[in-house]
């Protein structure tokens, strides 16, 4: 249960969660709840497989996943920021739309109602063994996981610095806490919120791409609630990049353990429930209350 294989699996499970959770964090920090993470993951997964299938290049697929995620996020931003409609309602509608549209297009493109044909996955970063000791170290360290895992680990650091150490991050946080004050100081509230939501689309879209490329195909409704788990991780991690990523690793670990237990006579359902129960506990505040940005959910 604690060996390296389980850790490997946990990191792979956690990668799409981390990307989506960081996305959700940027969105909520700007003051927009993003339940649409689930639909963005799904759309990103779908777009990445379509692009990989047409071009044969999984990196083009990842790029398409990011773009598709941003497109869905743009819809969420238009509905909630420009039209000031309810953010949760918009998210729910977008999730339904993503489920319907991906199934519809899957049928149009591949004439299938269940899954896409198999596509190329991302090749691991490797150097030829003939390069000697350096190549061996490189391959062990950076060639062990699919490249997007390392990209994701880097993004955690970048997100942390962006949120806490840049002018953009300060403005984003302020917009989520007190939009009126930010507006008075001459910062464009809508622009900040659009940025936050679009960032969430790009990140969750990339998460979807990892999800699909890691299994080499798109499967109907393959996000399977991961967008909601990411949301839970974001809350459990207190709207902080590092905290959210740590929560995703914990939830990914629970998923990996649960998969390892399958087939043995252990009720895996209870292991699956861990993320959800922990999130509720965090919200109620047994270990210090998890509290989001003050103005999250309120149109401005």
């Amino acid at each position: 249960m604690f060996d390296i294989a389980v850790f490997d699996a946990a990191l792979r499970m956690a990668t799409p969660l981390i990307l989506a959770a960081l996305g959700g964090m940027f969105s909520e920090r700007s003051g927009v709840v993003n339940i649409a993470l689930e639909g963005i993951l799904l759309t990103g997964a779908f777009a990445s497989v379509v692009a990989t299938w047409y071009t044969g290049d999984p990196w083009a697929g990842a790029f398409a996943g990011v773009l598709a995620g941003m497109l869905v996020a743009l819809l969420h931003a238009v509905v909630t920021v420009t039209f000031k409609a309810d953010q949760i309602v918009s998210g729910v509608a977008i999730n339904l739309l993503a489920a319907g549209a991906t199934q519809f297009l899957m049928w149009v493109i591949w004439d299938s109602s269940s899954n896409s044909p198999s596509v190329a996955g991302m090749a691991h970063w490797t150097l030829p063994e003939s390069w000697g000791g350096f190549a061996r170290v490189f391959n062990t360290v950076l060639g062990h996981y699919p490249p997007l895992v390392y990209v994701t680990l880097a993004i955690i650091g970048i997100a942390h610095v962006t949120l806490w150490r840049t002018r953009f991050g300060l403005r984003l946080r302020a917009t989520g806490e007190h939009p009126e004050a930010v507006d008075t100081l001459g910062v464009h509230v809508r622009r900040m919120r659009y940025s936050g939501v679009l960032l969430s689309g790009a990140l969750a879209g990339l998460g979807g791409a990892f999800l699909a490329l890691n299994t080499h195909q798109f499967v109907k409704n393959m996000s399977a609630g991961r967008g909601y788990i990411a949301l839970a991780a974001m809350i459990f991690g207190r709207w902080n990049p590092v905290g959210a990523a740590a929560a995703c690793l914990l939830f990914g670990y629970a998923e990996a353990v649960q998969m390892g237990l399958q087939g043995q006579h252990v009720p895996t359902q209870f292991v699956q429930m861990i993320p959800y129960v922990l999130t509720m506990v965090a919200l109620v505040g047994v270990m210090g209350r998890a509290r989001g940005p003050a103005a999250v959910g309120k149109p401005y």
Partner: protein, 357 residues
């Protein structure tokens, strides 16, 4: 002003539905089919025979319950996104009680099961309601989390405890006949409506109609309903007027969850006659769509559920007779909701009314 709001409440959803059909038509045209032909087949599939209409009603029943759950909570200012979990718990409790009390006669068992279904859903909704009232924990996140927990719990119990012996399918044994709601085919045939015996429309539709009336009655004819609407309209003013916000919040969720739990009357008592693991496939989430389209009024929920029931029924015909997949309907439904939401905001701003309670 009030009259205009009322008119907008009807016009906005109708325009949204028509516009989303237009969008769906464009999608159909884009893949080279005739939208008119596809829609003609859709409507024929939904209204072309008594059998089809029976299916429309059958498909609408769970959506009525799930829609009422969301709409009722909305009136109290709460967003119950946990209908899915509540209907699982309600359905499981229903099947469990039915299998435990198999000696009871129908006149006792059927009302008891209806009550237990509602109680199961109410219980599952009461916790997020309490957490909101006591700790201010957001009900949206908690109800989402409890959806997953409900699926896990019922999955565990149906596989490990109550699974039908000798079966691979994760489902309970059949509930006793005394706990089953009758199909309506026989009764309708005797008054001259030729609904085929195989049609699954059952007496749970009567429960659904009663639930619509009950939701209206509680909201508009009882003190509790007045308090619920007051809290939903303006919690600070309601508190100032002496309304106990905490109690009202919990009660709103309890009643909302009870409506969701009643999905069991159709799925367990009327149709499957057992609890099947993972049976719902999103009824609770479609309830959100139904409530939004119905502008959160009990009667609106009825019309929206009928529309969605019609679309779901006609979708099967599209699958069979055209080159367009039935997922087209999912797209149309989702576009409808987005348009309703946006259209509603625009209209409200135009009318200058902040809320339409």
């Amino acid at each position: 002003m009030k009259r205009w709001t009322a008119i907008a409440n009807v016009i906005a959803p109708v325009v949204a539905v028509l516009a989303s059909f237009l969008v769906g038509g464009l999608v159909v045209a884009a893949i080279g089919e005739s939208p008119l032909r596809v829609y003609a087949i859709l409507f024929r599939g939904a209204f072309g025979s008594v059998d089809a209409i029976g299916y429309v009603l059958f498909n609408a029943v769970p959506l009525i319950f799930a829609g009422l759950a969301v709409a009722f909570a909305f009136r109290g200012g709460l967003f119950n996104i946990g209908g899915e979990g509540q209907l699982y718990i309600g359905s499981f409790v229903c099947a469990w009680v039915a299998l435990t009390l198999h000696g009871l006669p129908a006149p006792l068992l059927i009302p008891l099961l209806v009550l237990m279904s509602a109680a199961g859903g109410a219980l599952w909704a009461a916790l997020p309601g309490y957490l909101k009232a006591r700790f201010g924990a957001h009900e949206v996140i908690n109800t989402i989390m409890m959806n997953f927990i409900a699926v896990g719990l019922t999955g565990y119990f149906v596989i490990e405890v109550l699974k039908e012996t000798g079966q691979m399918t994760p489902q309970t044994a059949e509930i006793p006949a005394a706990g089953q709601l009758p199909r309506l085919a026989g009764a309708l045939q005797s008054i001259g409506i030729p609904l085929p015996d195989a049609n699954p429309l059952n007496a749970s539709i009567l429960v659904a109609i009663a639930a619509i009336w009950l939701a209206w009655f509680i909201l508009y004819r009882t003190t509790l309903g007045y308090e619920i609407r007051a809290v939903g309209f303006n919690p600070k003013a309601a508190e100032y007027a002496g309304i106990n916000i905490r109690k009202t919040t919990v009660m709103t969720m309890v009643i909302s969850g009870a409506f969701a739990g009643l999905v069991a009357t159709n799925e367990v008592m009327g149709f499957r006659h057992r609890f099947l693991d993972n049976f719902s496939s999103g009824i609770g989430f479609m309830g959100i769509a139904v409530a939004l389209l119905g502008r959160n009024s009990p009667l609106g929920v009825l019309f929206a559920a009928l529309l969605f029931g019609m679309l779901n029924t006609g979708a099967l015909e599209i699958d069979v007779f055209t080159d367009v997949p039935r997922e087209l309907i999912l797209v149309v439904q989702a576009v409808t909701i987005i348009l309703v939401v946006v259209g509603n905001e625009v209209l409200q701003r135009k009318l200058g009314a902040r809320r339409s309670a």
